[in-house]
């Protein structure tokens, strides 16, 4: 079990994360927040690439930094920007990383074949990676994270560059993996984790906002999400009054999904809140800033 205890991370005057306390046991955790919210900082602290400015992270009661290679032996990590040598083939590169992970040549041989088959790259295992698409590179990244059969699998934006079919395959893979290990996925794409995560962690204003199941998080917007039809002429006014979650054009009118915490008006249809609704609602300010 990983315990994050009162962790803060500061870079000079800038605070990236403040007072984060979390507990992870086996299962799949989705770290959901918009870009720049501090997901990667937390992920990198869990991967020992960054040290907390205060607080500590423990694995089974022991500080992960102090555990040194005993902790890293348990770790599989895919960084946000997966680095590789463009003149290496996937097989060559995985052999290189297998050596760093302390896996013998014979074991690596078997494992690499198995993993490349799993990520559908067996046909190109000896081709140079410089000719690969973004999705193929990302699949090599996923394969390398699994090389040492990790007990803790940390993936930072793992679906970047994957097409819908690859994403679906990836979700299945993660569901299988999360049965007997801890998987933490950082993403800003709700659909990547909505259906598979046991728990979602959301960070807002550098602090922990939620750590709960999808259902419980959605409960926070119970009786507050509606859909209605609006004339184009009224749309601007409507946008000013409510937090719009989605807009869809149909038969010359707009069907809007929005949040309203108060009395329901006529013509509004209450709908079941989705994780995406919570995400859009909670991070509306950040998103306006981003725009």
């Amino acid at each position: 079990m990983i315990v994050v205890k009162d962790v803060c991370k500061r870079y000079g005057d800038f605070t990236a994360l403040e007072d984060i306390s979390l507990e992870f046991s086996n299962g799949l955790y989705g770290l959901l927040a918009p870009n720049g919210a501090g997901k990667t900082t937390l992920i990198k602290m869990l991967a020992t690439l960054i040290s907390p400015s205060s607080g500590e992270i423990q694995y089974n009661g022991e500080n992960i930094v102090a555990m040194d290679q005993r902790y890293r032996e348990l770790l599989g990590f895919l960084p946000q920007q997966f680095g590789f040598y463009k003149n290496y083939s996937p097989a060559q590169y995985l052999f290189y990383l297998a050596a760093l992970k302390g896996i013998s040549k014979q074991q690596a041989q078997v494992k690499i074949d198995e993993l490349l088959a799993k990520v559908a790259l067996s046909d190109v295992k000896h081709k140079k990676m410089k000719k690969f698409s973004g999705g193929m590179i990302q699949r090599v990244g996923i394969a390398q994270a699994l090389l040492n059969d990790p007990k803790i699998l940390i993936l930072d934006e793992p679906t970047a560059g994957l097409d819908p079919k690859e994403r679906a395959r990836f979700r299945h893979l993660l569901t299988d993996l999360a049965r007997d290990r801890l998987v933490i996925i950082s993403t800003h794409i709700v659909s990547d984790i909505e259906s598979i995560a046991n728990e979602i962690i959301m960070i807002k204003n550098k602090r922990l906002l939620y750590k709960d199941s999808v259902e419980q998080i959605c409960e926070t917007l119970r009786d507050a999400v509606y859909e209605t039809t609006v004339d184009f002429s009224q749309l601007d006014e409507f946008r000013k009054r409510f937090v719009l979650l989605s807009e869809k054009q149909e038969y010359g009118k707009m069907i809007v999904r929005f949040i309203h915490k108060g009395e329901k008006e006529e013509g509004w249809i209450p709908v079941q809140p989705q994780l995406e609704d919570v995400f859009l609602y909670e991070y509306q300010d950040e998103m306006v800033e981003e725009l």
């Binding site: 020992t48 690439l49 040194d68 920007q81 680095g83 590789f84 760093l100 390398q144």
Partner: protein
């Protein structure tokens, strides 16, 4: 071992070997080739080289006064030969230069056309070695006669060293053509090796960072200790590059055929007064050691910079002042003339020590820094 080998393979790629080839081809043809192709470089350098060999074969690697008297006799016999030769030349007789002494003291700045033609014929057209050889023998005798003289504007330490050498009977007696050639040659070889090491070693550690491979390496079982392996791989690659280039360049040097001079002590070469007195061969070996040391120091520095700077351009920019500074201020002092009396005695060991210690400290510092550093890329 597997990790070390992998890291070495990342340094010694076809691309880096090609870069090595290009650097060395350019520098060879611009700086080095001359000292092989043109050794001995014309006349009387050729005569100097030949007479030196004759002296070693006849008198050994040092000469006493008695042996030098014999050398003088040979000179006199050759002068007589030149006299006889000149007496057979009508122009020489008519111009009053029918002996070598007269030929030598003749005012060549206002020479008649015939005399000028005679001189050109003797020196350049007929291919006779005699007159060139006499010039050189005369020069060597001149140096021997003035062997106990030393410059007046010298430090007490230099004066003491001159006196020590004189007391031990060590004087600059043998022609310096071979050792000068080696000094010029090895200086330029050192430049080529220095550039090669910096060019080959610099990119490796930096490339791992710019390609975002570091997070994968540091989260593996090996973890941040991989930097030590990278540094070791860089160090071994530095040794490999230096050794390979030295093998090639010293094989080329062997074409100069100076091995006869190898047992002559360096203070016995004209104008080569030194603080220490190894044989020419020992001096060559010392210089090779010096090149290894400089190469390793710059290799270590390149590794250090490679760990800190953000990109290749900065990496080159940072190293240029160090390399240029070394070439301008230190190359002469620790590679070309490491033992020469014209530089203070402390200078060479202090320079080598500083070079090695500072680069070792730098590597220690970056390794320590990397251990605790946040990897934010």
């Amino acid at each position: 071992m597997r990790i070390l080998w992998n890291e070495m393979k990342k340094i010694l790629t076809w691309k880096s070997l090609l870069l090595l080839l290009i650097i060395n081809c350019i520098l060879y043809f611009f700086l080095i080739d001359f000292y092989i192709k043109h050794f001995p470089n014309g006349r009387p350098a050729l005569d100097s080289y030949r007479i030196g060999i004759e002296m070693i074969e006849k008198y050994g690697t040092s000469m006493n006064d008695e042996e030098f008297q014999d050398f003088r006799k040979v000179y006199e016999a050759r002068v007589e030969e030149a006299d006889r030769y000149l007496q057979t030349e009508k122009v020489a007789v008519s111009e009053g230069i029918d002996t070598y002494a007269k030929f030598n003291s003749y005012d060549w700045s206002s020479a008649s056309k015939e005399a000028g033609e005679l001189r050109d014929r003797l020196f350049f057209e007929e291919g006779t070695d005699l007159f060139w050889e006499l010039q050189e023998r005369n020069r060597l005798i001149g140096f021997y006669d003035g062997k106990k003289m030393y410059p007046s504007d010298i430090t007490p330490a230099q004066k003491q060293r001159y006196e020590e050498l004189a007391k031990e009977g060590i004087f600059g007696t043998y022609p310096e053509v071979a050792i000068r050639n080696f000094q010029d040659y090895i200086t330029n070889v050192a430049v080529a090796i220095l550039f090669s090491v910096v060019a080959v070693i610099s990119p490796m550690i930096l490339e791992d960072r710019t390609r975002h491979v570091v997070p994968l390496q540091y989260t593996s079982k090996k973890g941040r200790n991989v930097l030590k392996t990278k540094l070791l791989a860089s160090f071994l690659s530095t040794l490999l590059v230096i050794t390979s280039l030295l093998v090639i360049y010293l094989s080329l040097y062997s074409l100069n055929d100076t091995s006869v001079y190898f047992n002559v002590r360096i203070n016995s070469f004209i104008g080569n007064e030194s603080w220490y007195n190894p044989t020419f061969l020992q001096y060559i070996l010392f210089t090779i050691g010096g090149i290894y040391l400089v190469g390793i120091a710059f290799g270590l520095a390149a590794m250090g910079f490679s760990t800190i700077v953000p990109n290749t351009l900065t990496l080159l920019g940072v190293q240029i002042p160090f390399v240029a500074g070394f070439l301008i201020f230190a190359l002469n002092r620790i590679i070309t003339f490491p033992m020469n009396m014209w530089f203070p005695k402390w200078q060479m060991p202090v320079f080598y020590g500083l070079l090695l210690l500072s680069s070792m400290f730098f590597v220690w510092y970056v390794n320590r820094r990397e251990k605790k550093m946040d990897i934010t890329i």
